[in-house]
């Protein structure tokens, strides 16, 4: 009979009996403990407890022992593995509230692990108020998270019915996460964040938020500051929320997370990093390394002070359109505005972004609303984009992967009927110069000839008919396109083309003989004075060798397949001290990974080139 390889007797031989000297040490230590300490400690505990009880009696304050539930709550939504992963991080009790229209918004707990920050909170109604979650219709059963899979028992009153029966007002509630600060540093708006709101049986609403953004959430900090916004909308007796008149209130929560195990009262449990696998050079060696010229000469790059961009005072509307302004709205509370031109084009902007699009009339679009448990079609009037704008949209599909085929297309012609590629680039670069933006280079160019517009447009319609693209966009007859719609789809980047950096400094443009007809531009920071010159930066291979370990630490089970490229560039991040932002050198790795048997080719990770720490990555 085959011997069980892990018989307890054999396993005990791997780890032999305790050596005599260690056994003596253990027993000497046990024998050296002092019973007075025990008695003194108990006495101390008793005195302390008595004091607390007296305090409670005098102040009438309930004593709550913090037993974190956040990991359990997130685990119930995302799986046991995620709960266990989170519990290797740190947690804090927040219990920080703000009251809006008599409704109390409370952040209960916050957890942090790697570059992820997670929160759970409760929204509690005031007297005579029932709460409705954003996106939940008032015709849903009261107190049941039906959109999250809960089944309400038959006969459960709807929110509307309960409100009518009890004479209560209905208020719809939600929240937004605006920015995160770390150790008193700059507040950063995260690139994206997840949110969940769900009704609870007791009439409260539970909300969850998660941010996985290495730029906003530093992995190990003492204090995290979270800027949130509570939002309340009145709901009519018919169940319609008054979205035109939200009541908003900002509130800031500050927490100091401690390791989970410490909070639970055991010995401090530091994050345990799995033993790193031996580095496989064939996998971690980047196929291509791109560096600025200055780096090749000095082996280093400067750190610049970074100031936030503000387009508010910079825009001359005639740079985009000369048909004249039909209406103009500049936002009072939030920087930005919207301009409608006489030819229906629109220019809109915020502090760090500019958008320009062209329109031509309206069309009737079919959408769906949920009434009860049914989807009912509704017709709404939407603006119709011009054929030129539609050509830009087609080019976008062709660049990122066409619906139904995922095919990607590339540049074929550098000359079209009325415009060349070089002329198109010159127009974009002139606009960038007017906007005060330097350092951009063209990373993508796609020609949209009349033939391509018509061919790809017809193909798009075919894919919609096949069900490979669900949309209520206007159904164009592409045979009506003309050479006036021909143009170049151009993408420009400043710092890197992958990951979060690409999103912070990027522009997409469509240029015809008439000019720049479509603009989608983001530029968050301006580099200023040089703050420091690091003596040396870590090289590409040193950084690349760290990637497998960082992937192993993440909550996602990815394996590195190949590193396509390592690019040295700059990225905005918090200064080491103070509230300033800096532009600091980083390595951007573009790579392929395998997850659950599938290979993902568009992965990225960004490392600090000075200290080698992971800043952010697709798996974070």
């Amino acid at each position: 009979m085959k011997k069980n390889p892990w018989h307890p007797d054999d396993l005990r031989q791997v780890f032999p009996e305790i050596p005599e000297n260690i056994s003596r040490l253990v027993m000497d230590t046990a024998n050296s403990v002092k019973e007075e300490t025990e008695m003194k400690m108990r006495h101390t505990v008793s005195v302390a407890l008595a004091f607390v009880l007296v305090f409670i009696c005098l102040m009438g304050v309930a004593l709550a022992v913090f037993q974190p539930r956040i990991a359990e709550i997130f685990g119930s939504h995302f799986g046991q593995d995620f709960k266990e992963w989170m519990e290797e991080g740190s947690v804090a009790s927040a219990e920080d509230s703000v009251v809006v229209e008599g409704i109390t918004f409370t952040v209960n707990e916050v957890a942090v692990r790697n570059h992820g920050l997670y929160g759970v909170g409760t929204i509690t109604p005031g007297e005579g108020t029932l709460l409705l979650c954003e996106d939940y219709p008032a015709t849903e059963p009261y107190g049941y998270a039906t959109f999250h899979g809960e089944e309400a028992p038959e006969g459960t009153p709807t929110v509307l019915e309960k409100a009518k029966a009890e004479g209560c007002a209905i208020k719809q509630v939600s929240f937004y996460l605006n920015a995160i600060g770390v150790d008193d540093g700059a507040m950063i708006m995260p690139n994206g964040w997840g949110a969940d709101v769900r009704p609870m049986r007791d009439g409260t609403v539970q909300f969850l938020f998660e941010v996985e953004d290495g730029q906003a959430v530093s992995a190990q900090a003492e204090t995290y500051t979270i800027e949130l916004e509570a939002v309340v909308w009145n709901v009519s007796a018919d169940g319609e929320a008054d979205y035109e008149n939200p009541v908003r209130q900002q509130w800031t929560v500050e927490v100091q997370p401690q390791p989970f195990a410490e909070v639970l009262g055991t010995s401090p449990e530091p994050t345990v990093t799995p033993a790193p696998a031996a580095v496989d050079d064939s996998v971690t060696q980047p196929r291509q390394v791109i560096v600025p010229e200055a780096y090749t000469q000095t082996g280093t790059l400067p750190v610049y002070k970074a100031t936030a961009r503000n387009f508010d005072s910079k825009l001359d509307y005639t740079w985009f359109n000369q048909s004249g302004v039909a209406s103009e709205e500049v936002y009072a509370n939030h920087t930005g505005g919207l301009v409608l031109f006489n030819d229906e084009a629109q220019l809109s902007w915020s502090a760090e972004a500019v958008f320009y699009e062209t329109y031509d009339g309206t069309y009737e679009a079919t959408s769906f609303v949920i009434e009860g448990r049914e989807e009912k079609p509704v017709t709404e009037t939407l603006q119709k984009r011009t054929m030129t704008s539609e050509a830009c949209s087609l080019a976008g599909w062709m660049h990122f992967g066409f619906p139904g085929t995922d095919q990607v297309y590339s540049l074929e012609r550098t000359e079209l009927t009325n415009i060349t590629l070089e002329e198109a680039k010159a127009k974009v670069e002139a606009l960038l110069a007017k906007l005060g933006l330097e350092g951009y280079s063209c990373t993508t160019a796609l020609d949209m000839s009349l033939e391509r517009i018509q061919t790809m447009g017809d193909e798009l319609n075919r894919q919609i008919d096949l069900g490979n693209l669900s949309t209520n966009k206007f159904r164009y007859d592409y045979s009506t396109a003309t050479v006036d719609n021909e143009g170049y789809y151009l993408q420009y980047h400043k710092y890197g083309t992958e990951g979060d950096i690409a999103g912070l400094f990027s522009g997409t443009f469509y240029v015809t003989a008439d000019g720049v007809m479509e603009v989608n531009l983001r530029d968050y920071y301006q580099p200023g004075e040089i703050l420091s010159n690091p003596e040396m930066l870590l090289d590409a291979q040193t950084i690349a060798d760290r990637l497998p370990e960082e992937m192993a630490n993440s909550r996602w089970p990815e394996t590195l397949v190949e590193i396509h490229q390592a690019e040295l560039t700059w990225m905005p991040m918090r200064a080491d001290t103070g509230k300033d932002m800096v532009m600091s050198p980083v390595w951007v790795l573009s790579y392929s990974s395998e997850e659950y048997g599938r290979v993902n080719k568009d992965c990225w990770a960004i490392f600090n080139a000075i200290d080698g720490k992971l800043i952010t990555a697709i798996f974070n």
Binding site: D10, Q13, V14, F15, I22, A30, V33, V45
Partner: protein, 160 residues
Amino acid sequence: MTKERFVEQIDALQGRLYRIALSMLRNDADVQDALQETVLKAWEKQYTLRNEAYFATWVTRIAINVCKQILRQRKRMVLMEELPETPVTFHGITLKMLLETLPEKLRLPFVLQYSEGMDASEIAAALHLSQSAVRSRIHRAKLILRKELAYHEEESMASR
């Protein structure tokens, strides 16, 4: 708990604590530090132990946490040569080497069950995991070990 009772309990557990510490720290010097700190912490925090029946599991948990703290502080890559040799081999691979193929997350619950005879609930309490997580990790550990063993069995037969 009286000191006499405490010493008795530590005496009964010292072998287990040694094996657990060795499986995590892999050298006697660190193990000595870990065990000493474990005993002192256990005495210091005994007021948090609600039921003496759980003393073994409770001290095991303290030992594991102490070892993890030492690992973080030391940040050492431990060489396999530092581990004691074992005469037990399977197709040319020692059991020690077989266990080395397991990540610690899987190795620890596996060793606690098969070497120390702890059941899933005890291991769960010691490692702050759910029982299902403990079972799942032990199951995964066995899958990896079986795979390694099968590989070495094939290699061994091919070389004959």
